[in-house]
């Protein structure tokens, strides 16, 4: 027997909510196969099974809050898979190959095998007709039949719930978590906002040098502006700060959060820790690594902790600016607009004319208890100056 405990979920996280069991009691589980999902106020993580065997006991139900280190399940390493049906359907001592009455339904045991389970498969023309008449798309259903196939009962229930052009969608954990954070931040903090347009000639230089670092990491506009933003924070320390109760804690270390979308699951803000001393090359590598971890769902709680200032990059090439809500307990978010080619007025030897230039909008959402529009604008202007003065060639 092997105990399954809730592992450490990162510094300062002492508990998590079990949101989903991927296995039922009696199911076979392989070592490192995802066993359950745990949700903290930062992230949902799939927990791998620490042992191979049969899940014999589940000690924490879905929805339970569990302390790290406590037992949540037991795996029997010596047992194997759940029998396909629980009733002995094979021959007793005195009968031959007839089924003993009545064989238990086989569906639960077979549903354990997620990777080959065929969700939403219709095996009956009768069921197909019921779904078609009811306007329900089979692929939206998770069947209760063998292998996840849709039974008549599933179909009738789905039709009774209405056609699929109006489906009630439960919020994913990610969305729910984002919603709670944003609601609480917006309600608790007076948000201020300023935006300025700055010159983006530095990006002409970047195009010339090439859009990847010497390490081969792709350089985004967001990374370049972030570099200037971090350096400007050295002169605007009160923006690199967090609230602890009523007190403002100003940080010397810049832990730079990046707003990142998670497909169909809201938003996360992974953090590049100790970003103040980084060159463009180092920052690019760290940001890129974080991005990969977001995509592969391998972010740890530590990746999401300790942020002191947040960057919101351009969501598209047409973004002018965004007005994000502050990530608590921080006090400001820098929004970076897309770098656009625009007609600009140039002055050569006293003669003005129109030329093609680059511009972008920088905006700051700030906590009005800490900052006001004038200081915020000062910060943005300083970011613009530092951006224009970056020595890309040496940092590349």
């Amino acid at each position: 027997m092997a105990d399954v405990t809730l592992p450490s979920l990162g510094e300062s996280v002492t508990e998590g909510i079990i949101t989903q069991w991927f296995k039922k009691v009696g199911d076979t589980v392989a070592r490192d196969e995802p066993l359950f999902e745990v949700s903290t106020d930062k992230v949902d993580s799939e927990m791998p099974s620490p042992a191979a065997g049969v899940l014999t006991e589940i000690l924490a139900e879905e929805g339970d809050t569990v302390q790290t280190g406590s037992r949540v399940a037991v795996i029997d390493e010596n047992a194997v898979g759940a029998p396909v049906s629980s009733a002995p359907t094979t021959s007793s001592e005195t009968t031959d190959a007839l089924p003993s009455p009545p064989p238990a339904h086989t569906a639960p045991a077979t549903l354990a095998v997620e990777e080959v389970a065929v969700n939403g498969v219709v095996v009956s023309p009768v069921v197909r007709r019921i779904l078609a008449d009811g306007g329900v798309e089979p692929s939206t259903l998770r069947g209760s039949g063998p292998g996840g196939s849709i039974t008549r009962r599933d179909a009738e229930r789905a039709v009774a719930n209405g056609p699929t052009d109006e489906i009630v969608v439960a919020l994913s954990n990610g969305r729910r978590r984002m919603g709670q954070h944003m609601t609480s931040s917006f309600q608790s903090t007076p948000h201020g906002f300023v935006a300025i347009e700055i010159d983006g000639a530095i990006f002409d230089e970047l195009e010339t040098l090439g859009r990847s670092t010497r390490d081969g990491v792709a350089i985004t506009d967001e990374m370049v502006v972030s570099l200037a933003a971090v350096r400007a924070l050295g002169e605007f320390e009160f923006l690199n700060a967090t609230f602890a109760g009523d007190e403002l804690v100003v940080h010397r270390t810049v832990n730079l959060g990046f707003m990142r979308v998670v497909a169909d699951d809201g938003m996360l803000v992974p953090v590049v820790h100790a970003a103040a001393g980084l060159t463009l090359r180092a920052l690019a590598r760290r940001v890129s690594e974080l991005g990969e971890r977001v995509l592969s769902h391998r972010l740890t709680t530590d990746d999401l902790m300790g942020g002191t200032f947040t960057i919101m990059g351009p969501a598209s090439e047409h973004t002018l600016w965004s007005e994000p809500i502050i990530i608590q307990p921080e006090v400001a978010v820098l929004s970076i607009g897309a770098v656009r080619q625009v007609p600009v007025v140039v002055n050569v030897n006293g003669t003005t004319s129109i030329a093609v230039g680059r511009r972008l909008v920088l905006a700051l959402t700030f906590d009005h208890r800490v900052c006001e529009p004038f200081a915020a604008t000062g910060y943005l202007e300083r970011v613009g100056e530092l951006l224009a003065g970056l020595d890309l060639e040496s940092e590349h």
């Binding site: 396909v84 001592e93 031959d96 190959a97 009545p102 086989t106 045991a109």
Partner: protein, 471 residues
Amino acid sequence: MANEVQQFDVVVIGGGPGGYAAALYGAAAGLSVALVERDKVGGTCLHRGCVPAKEFLETAHVRRTIEHSAAFGITAKSVAVDFAVSQARKNEIVDRLYKGLSGLIKGRKITVFEGTARLDADQTVEVLEGTDAGVVAKGKNVILAAGSVPRTLPGFDVDGTIVVTSDEFLDLSVLPATAAVIGGGAIGCEFASMLADMGTKVTILESLPTILTGCDAEVVNVMQRAFKKRGIEVRAGVTVTGHTPKKGSTTILIDGGDDVKVDMVVLSVGRRPRTEALLGEGTNVEINDRGFVVADGYQRTANPNVYAVGDVVANTPQLAHVGFAEAIVAIKTILGEPVVPVDYDRVPWAIYSNPEVAFCGLTEAAAKEKGYEVVVKKDPFGGNSRAQIIGDTEGVVKIVAEKRPDGTAGQILGVHMAGPWVTEQLGAGYFAVNWEATAEEAAALIQPHPSLSETFGETLLALAGRGLHVG
């Protein structure tokens, strides 16, 4: 060279229905397949089970037809049985099918090794005895399809003359004058029926309260009446303790009941899996306490690269067609293709006795036990015109449907038949159950007239609320 490890995508242990189906289906998908068989491909089903048994039952049917021919105005002088000829015909049919199957396997470029196989660690299969002893074959995946053998009873040593199992019974060239069939399940009832039709005086001894446990009670009643009419004595709820053979016959001892003196004892007390010595060290395959291989709905054992199909699989019906279906599930799973596991509650069952029995889905009792409220309709074959024409009107069709809140019949849960050619008629019922049709959906479909299948159609109409003939 003998011990050089040969590599395959799939190594199948056992060449019965489960094993050869896996080999054929896998080879058809382009996999390289090796099949290890200790005897002849085709397995129990072809050589010692379904096929020879049904051939004998057909022999009995021919005799029955001749016996009743006078009613049609055709008089046969005398009916004589030369069972050696019957036996030879059976062997010819088996042989023809065996050659056909062997050719099919060869044509698919499946490597066949002759011998007993043992699975060792890392999907390595060693051939131990037989022509290819010493061969070592390694599969990316291995499918265990070692099959089953007849169970025996303590106190009844199988000698092949007085005490026989299905293995010996199907090789007899002379039938006994009197016989006791111990075990009144599907196989026991087929043997009893065939013997009785061929002129043997038969007694069925069953330890459970009725014969054909697992069948719907209505079907069991039909069978018990039919057997009684043909002189087959059914003694259910009895325990046999042993027998005392004496000069070509024997007396079976029954606990607390009258002994039975017969010329032959036919044991049909089930089949046990052939898993002894199947597994070496380190396979991680789980065998349960009854010797069966534990597998999930995708036929996977506890070792993710080892599958099991057919009679060796725990808690599944021992039926050739279930083996076929499991083989397809296993190969598709190996290929990573989406596949729906076998729904064991809804596989077709067929018993080729006289009358025949065929069913699919839940019995009335099982449905109630599962918490369903049910609506049930049944229609006897007596009123069926085709049944009258063929002179075989004994039997019934019974359909069990879920009761809707308004009391009408909803989804069809089970179809149960006893009577003429019902094994060939079950198809429609099988579709109805597995396609989860309601009575009215299935009743809207037409049965040809005159045909035996109209009885099924009539039952559906009645179940849907209004029958033509049945109330």
